[in-house]
Symmetry: C2
Subunit: 155 residues, 2 copies
Amino acid sequence: MFKKRENIAEIEEGKLLSPKFDNDGLIPVVTVCTNTKDVLMHGYMNVEALKKTIETKEAHYWSRSRKQIWHKGKVSGFAQKVVELRIDDDQDAVWLTVDIGKGSSCHVGYRSCFYRSIPLGKIDNARQIEMKFEEKEKSFDPEKIYKGEPNPTKI
Amino acid sequence: MFKKRENIAEIEEGKLLSPKFDNDGLIPVVTVCTNTKDVLMHGYMNVEALKKTIETKEAHYWSRSRKQIWHKGKVSGFAQKVVELRIDDDQDAVWLTVDIGKGSSCHVGYRSCFYRSIPLGKIDNARQIEMKFEEKEKSFDPEKIYKGEPNPTKI
């Protein structure tokens, strides 16, 4: 599908897209908001999702919980318009910059999936590390938006 | 080590850190520059690397190529001082904001590992997708900095 990976100099210094998919056929994706520069989510694409993202200019992922292509925003209405798509040195990770307008990204209801911060410093008891909510309020009600959809979070 | 993952409400809405490591014992990490807001790299941590990052306030990763804990900057001098550490809704990905001063992050010599962008729009021939270099010049000479070290990029 994409250019075959043949030598390291080409992969690192070349111009041709030659992404590496892992044993499950996936490449990790970091999605950043073009306005706030917050990391909105961390997801995965397979070959088809990457191709659809490039061609439609809207983010498509591979849903590991539903095991299918996931056009982000199809259920919630919160589509992600692609502003920029970058790949890293060894072409095994993707950085996607998107415009979500006033929308949200997180199925729990927050704007970013990364709404909690971990305190830094000496750990006294690793079972009791108390995080801080950096987003104070949810930006939508997931029970209304996702009614009947299974929760993707797994224990 | 960390709190056991017991129910989804606690994982998503609770305050206690309860990270999910994959079958290889790893959690993906997105590392962002606190000054430019660029994504510098995408890496992985195991339990020990996450603990060392929290406690020392310097980024530690798990090197999948060398199969060992990797104190970023130990060879290159480009340590990453942790400004903020966040975790996502289902606690299976980490967002690390770091200060690297005038340093670099990429073993190829660029400041960010994501120095190439992928063109958007219809794909005529997927084997010939020509990317654009968004960083024009390397910020250090990897042959001087990493002399004798094996290249982590794999085909």
